[in-house]
């Protein structure tokens, strides 16, 4: 195997700049997915069957089709849907956010249902209305239990974000590919990209462990 990393050193800053692009897309999509996921999970446990039906249909569609297809639908479909072409990174944030909301809503729903029923009864017996009981008593306990699953989802999101390459967003993956094209050698830059993704995931993992430790304070 002859690997020549030497020739890629000048291109390294260019590839590394992709981290910012990737992080921006992932963090915004993560926030969108999380907020929408919470709302959908409330729909799913709502006593109004109609809301549950909507959320289930949503999850079914976004889980039942490929992410790359959703990305392309939103990007290439936008002129016909809303009349103008949105820029690629907006399309990426939207599709990743909408997609992970489907998964996150399932995670949170399960987390809420796993909290002992006695907790909401105790809150009710104290005269605490549904909404604050949910926000202050049930959700914090649910979050603690689902944190590993949630972290998993964000890690998946970080890695899967590499598919924005197909609509031309210059993230880490795309940049590695471009550099490879310039030098007619793809192996090394893609190895470098792999290392970068791995490092990002490691940072997320450590971050997740830290939050988990903080939340386990009451144990």
């Amino acid at each position: 195997m002859n690997l020549d990393f030497q020739q890629f050193i000048p291109s390294l800053p260019y590839i590394l700049k992709g981290i910012g692009v990737t992080l921006q897309i992932v963090s915004m999509a993560g926030i969108l997915g999380f907020v929408l996921g919470i709302i959908l999970s409330f729909f799913k446990i709502s006593k109004f069957k109609f809301l549950g039906w909507i959320a289930d249909a949503y999850t079914s569609v976004f889980r039942g089709t490929p992410l790359v297809l959703q990305l392309m639908l939103i990007y290439y479909g936008s002129p016909q849907l809303i009349g103008y072409k949105i820029d690629p990174s907006t399309a990426a944030v939207l599709s990743f956010g909408l997609n992970s909301a489907a998964y996150i809503s399932e995670i949170i729903r399960a987390g809420i249902l796993a909290v002992d029923k006695g907790q909401s009864e105790a809150a009710m017996a104290l005269g605490v209305p549904y909404r604050p009981a949910m926000m202050d008593i049930i959700l914090p306990q649910a979050m603690k239990n689902i944190l590993p699953a949630l972290m998993n989802e964000f890690i998946t999101l970080t890695k899967e974000s590499a598919i924005v390459t197909v609509i031309g967003v210059t993230d880490v993956m795309r940049r590695a590919y471009i550099v490879g094209g310039e030098k007619f050698s793809y192996f090394e830059p893609i190895l470098i990209a792999g290392l970068i993704y791995y490092m990002m995931v490691m940072v997320l993992t450590v971050l997740g462990k830290g939050i988990e430790r903080r939340m386990r304070r009451s144990d």
């Binding site: 006695g118 907790q119 105790a122 009710m124 017996a125 104290l126 005269g127």
Partner: protein, 240 residues
Amino acid sequence: MIKVENLHKHFGKLEVLKGISTNIQDGEVVAVIGPSGSGKSTFLRCINLLEMPTDGRIMINGQDITDKSTNIMKVRQNVGMVFQHFHLFPHKTALQNLTYAPMKVKGISKSEAEKIGLGLLEKVGLSAKAHEYPNRLSGGQKQRVAIARALAMQPEVMLFDEPTSALDPEMVKEVLDVMKNLAHTGMTMAIVTHEMGFAREVADRVLFLDGGVLVEDSSPEEFFSNPKSERAKDFLQKML
């Protein structure tokens, strides 16, 4: 005063309460006893509407709480409840467990809530544990915090649903002592319990339920020494 009239509760086809009528006077301590499955917990849970009665009326201080227009949250603020399994909020310290509802529901300030909370923790003998999380407390301590939490809302009535059934034997007394002290302050209390000695000593009245029917409603002396019904006799024989 709590007035229960012809209270019925169905769970699907199962009829758990079959028309219960009784009164609980202000300051009265009522022990609700009976075999398991007799409906005593359901009866208690109807009084703060954790269970919605299927039929019948419950009046608290003249207000019909089963009426559709009644604000259930307001009713519950006035009726404290203590559960068999404590149900303390595990992510809050003992003191935070006490201050949460008064601050959230009644809107009183943090300092005021903490003052009330610390006072109550002292009353149940747990001042030293104010800043501990529930997981660091023993069962008896948890239940005493749970009693203090209910009291922090300054309710007029306290409901106890088998408060000592989940405790190790050596912790039963500390909880019963707290309840005894509370009874002496003139709190109106309804207690579902299997502690016959406690019922006999502390209760002003005993309600004996069996199969969803109020079989006996009498003074503890009468009930324990001279039960009228066969079912009560049978039950007491097994218990004592």
